[in-house]
Structure formats: C-alpha cells, structure tokens
C-alpha cells in the first residue's frame, strides 16, 4: 500500500514538473497550438512518443535476443471509440485549454480556471456513466491491438530514423509559422 502511494506520487510529481517546464500547462500554449501560433504540444508529444518507442522497442528486441521476454504495455482498443472519443475530446480541450494531465498540473501552478475544468471533468464522468450502456456498444466494436511499427530490429531502426528526422521537421514547421 505504502509503496503504491509513494511510487504513484513520485511518478506524478515528475510528470507534473515536466509538463509545467514544458509550458503545456499554459492555456495559451495549448490553444496556440490548435491555432498554429506555436508547435510546442506537437513537438513534446512527438519526441515523447519516439523516445518512448525507442526505449520500449530496444528493451523488447534486445531482451528477446538474450532469450528474455519483456512484456510491453499492449492492449486492445476500439477503433470507432478512439475516433469519436478523440473528436469529442478535442472539442472540449479547445474550450478548456488544457488536457486532463496538464489541467491538473496547471491547477497546481495556480491557474484557478483549470480547477473549474477539473470540477467539470467530474461532472462529465457522472454524465458518461449514465450513457455507459449506449457507449459500450461503440467501445466493444472493432477492438484491435495492431501496432503501426513492428516490434523487431527493423521497427527499431524505423523509430531511430524518425527520431533523427524530428529536429528537421520542427525547424521547418517553426519557420513556416514564423
């Protein structure tokens, strides 16, 4: 129990710290990304995904070379639910100006508006529960656990290659938006 609490608090604190240092706890950064005034959100997410992929795939590929099996956090998810959920989520995120994680960290940095969003999220959970029966038909439809990049040496090289391209891509994007 105590290890559970301490491990969660530690991971959370580092996460919140990084989000705040990344400026994604600012309404202007999030909405500014959607308006193409900056590229910070896309840049942080892209680097996180590719570095994360590099580490996960390296561990899995090297582990299997030594006969070890490293379980990756792979789970099945519904494609239509991801699509419709993403559309609803983006709409709310543009109005709120934070996502759930950054909203919590923003509340920590003193943004009172984020606090009201967190209350709204609790209210939204109450509403979602009322419609769970209808939603579950979408959530159980077309569940897949396919990966876009194969978990092998070739996949690892693909991730490394994409990672090398990122600085160039974002330099061009930043120049474009001035």
């Amino acid at each position: 129990m105590l290890t559970m609490i301490i491990s969660a608090l530690c991971v959370g604190m580092i996460f919140g710290f990084l989000l705040q240092k990344g400026s994604v706890t600012q309404f202007n950064t999030i909405v500014g990304q959607f308006l193409f005034k900056n590229m910070i959100v896309a840049e942080i997410i892209s680097y996180a995904l590719l570095f994360g992929g590099l580490f996960f795939y390296s561990i899995a590929v090297m582990g299997s070379a030594f006969g070890l099996h490293a379980a990756l956090p792979i789970s099945a998810g519904s494609m239509p639910a991801a699509f419709v959920g993403g559309l609803i989520f983006g709409c709310g995120m543009a109005l709120f100006g934070y996502c759930p994680g950054t909203g919590i960290a923003a509340f920590g940095q003193g943004s009172m508006d984020a606090g009201f969003g967190l209350l709204g999220m609790t209210a939204g959970a109450v509403i979602f529960e009322r419609f769970y029966e209808q939603a579950s038909s979408i959530m159980s439809a077309n569940r897949v656990s396919d990966v876009l990049i194969p978990v092998n040496l070739l996949g690892l090289f693909m991730i490394a290659g994409l990672l090398c391209l990122l600085p160039i891509v974002f330099r061009i994007l930043r120049r474009k938006i001035g």
């Binding site: 959370g12 308006l35 994360g52 998810g77 989520f89 508006d113």
Partner: protein, 172 residues
Amino acid sequence: MSFLQKKSWPPPLVGLGIAILYVSSWFLFAKMPGASPPFVRLAYWIEYLIVPAYVERSVYFHKFNTLLNWHVFLIIGIALGGALSAVSSRSWSVSQVPGLWAERFGRSYYKRFLGAFVGGMIMIIGARLAGGCTSGKGLAEGMVFLTPAYVFMGALFASGIVTAHLLYKRAC
C-alpha cells in the same frame, strides 16, 4: 541561473523526460500514467454520498469504486509537481483568465470558469469513450505504436484545430 530554475525547458528534452518516466514506470511498477480515470472514481464517491443505491447497481462505476488507487495518487503528484515547477522558477501565482481567452471573451472570471467547466465536462466524456486521454491513451499507447492511439490523436488534433478556430479566431 540554474537549469532547475528556468521557466521553460526545450520541448525535445521534456519529451525525452516523459519517455524515460513512462518506460521506468512500466518496468518498475507495471503502471502507465493516465490522468482521466481518477475523475470517474471521484464521481463515484460523490454520487455514493447522495444516491448510494444507484451507484451500487452501476455496471460502469463497479470498476471505479475505490479512491485508494495508483492513478488517484498519481494525479495528486501531478498537481504537486506542477506547483513545485512553478515555484522553482518563481512563477507560481494565482491566475484566473488566460491571455488568449481574454482577448476573445473578456476578463470576466465567471465566463472563463463556466467555459473551463463545460470544456472539462465534454473532454472527459470523449476520454472515457476512447478509453483514455492524452497521457493514458495518446502517450502510453502511442509509445508502443498501437493503432487506436494514433486514431485518437488524429481525431483530437483535427477537432481541436477546428473548434479553436471557431472559438478564438476573431481575436487574431
């Protein structure tokens, strides 16, 4: 000025930090961060105090019936980490109306708080339908390149861009 006192860090470094954190969290604690499920647990407990008979029959709440949960402590940590980071750069301050919002909707606290409340409400419905938010679905599942995570992120950005242009474009 030390690195920790800086107001912001370069995005590639923040991305790398998040990646190391997620991978460590998975291999050390078998958990991937995700910020949205605790709000269902909070909703469960608030409703439990008002309509206990209803929540006990609920199929959905059944999976979220305790607050003593790893992700609940995670979000407490996120708030503390955000506060600590702001304090470290001496930028912690109480604020109500962000600049871009004020340019379009004015300095009214109530308008902004209402907008944030409704926005958060819509957002969590999308997150619960998709099975996670930016951190739990986009990042956690995206790091192992699961297809639904990218469908979610694509839809999120598309609708976020359209909504933001409709809401705030006149200010630009």
